[in-house]
Amino acid sequence: MKSLKYIIPLVIFAALAAFFAVGLTKDPREVPSPLIDKPAPAFKLAELHDAGKVFTPEEMKGKVWMLNVWASWCVSCRVEHPLLVDMSKRNQVPIVGLNYKDTRDAGLKWLDKLGNPYVLSAYDVEGKVGIDYGVYGVPETFVIDKQGVIRYKQIGPITPEAWDKTILPLIRKLNA
């Protein structure tokens, strides 16, 4: 009974330490999206390059593709951008841009200057489509499968590590 007195605080401490250790490895900014494994929300938006043309995700049915939310005012997008340009050169996956709460002018200039990795960019000036996709931290990237189901969401810039370890293997699997 005496020894129990010493063991109990030790056990409580170990349990607390375990909780904290797990907590430390988690990023509170990364909120699990409820959209994973759900159909990508439908939308109709004008294209950034051509206000007369309308894009809907329906057009991408049958393809594995990525929807990348970006804006010219977004600093982390600049960090991510070279990686996207690189991917598009290697033709690994079609990337559709969602130009989020930007101005057409600034968006186009940004692409001219830094390169355009997108098949096309949809122009979401009001951010309504962003809300439907649960966007809260640009850049965000969705991997969408042939049936139009969202399979993965990257919050913040795609890192080379996330690309190599998670996204590319997933795309290969979905394409297989």
Binding site: P28, R29, V31, P32, S33, P34, L35, K101, E126, G127, G130, I131, D132, Y133, G134, Y136, G137
Partner: protein, 148 residues
């Protein structure tokens, strides 16, 4: 008097929450419902602020979205469900009771139970210690003799 005014101003400052001039001609009834709802919703950009308090552009968009939905006659539950569908249960400051939150909701009661159990055990043990030990027959005989 000055202090009372200051206290009152402080108390009502929260009412001037969502930038009163955020929209033209705000409808007080809509604003009231928006505030009641948005006070319980987490802003995803500056976490730990509510959608009512936050100045983030996304919070403003969501406030406007809620205004639109209130005007469309949507119920509070429908509006909450709309946000949960997009951002997950994380947006709710008042989390629902689901398997993953059982510990959260049940934890305090569990701790209370543990506390009560410990208290009972400790009190019982103390009582057992304090109870006078029974007298040995020899002692009893001696007392009887003394009292005679």
């Amino acid at each position: 008097m000055k202090h009372v005014v200051a206290a009152l101003l402080l108390a009502f400052s929260s009412l001037a929450f969502a930038q009163a001039d955020e929209i033209a001609n705000p409808d007080p009834r809509v604003e009231k419902r928006l505030k009641d709802l948005a006070d319980e919703l987490r802003c995803l950009v500056c976490q730990n602020q509510t959608i009512a308090d936050s100045n983030a552009p996304l919070a403003l968009d969501l406030r406007n979205q809620i205004r639109t939905m209130v005007n469309q006659g949507k119920s509070d539950d429908e509006i909450r469900a709309y946000l949960v569908d997009r951002y997950g249960n994380f947006v709710l400051y008042n989390p629902p009771v689901i398997p993953t939150t059982l510990l959260l909701w049940g934890g305090p009661f569990l701790l209370l139970l543990v506390g009560i159990t410990v208290a009972i055990v400790v009190v019982r043990r103390k009582r057992a210690e304090q109870a006078p030990a029974a007298l040995a027959p020899v002692e009893r005989a001696r007392i009887d003799k003394l009292l005679e």
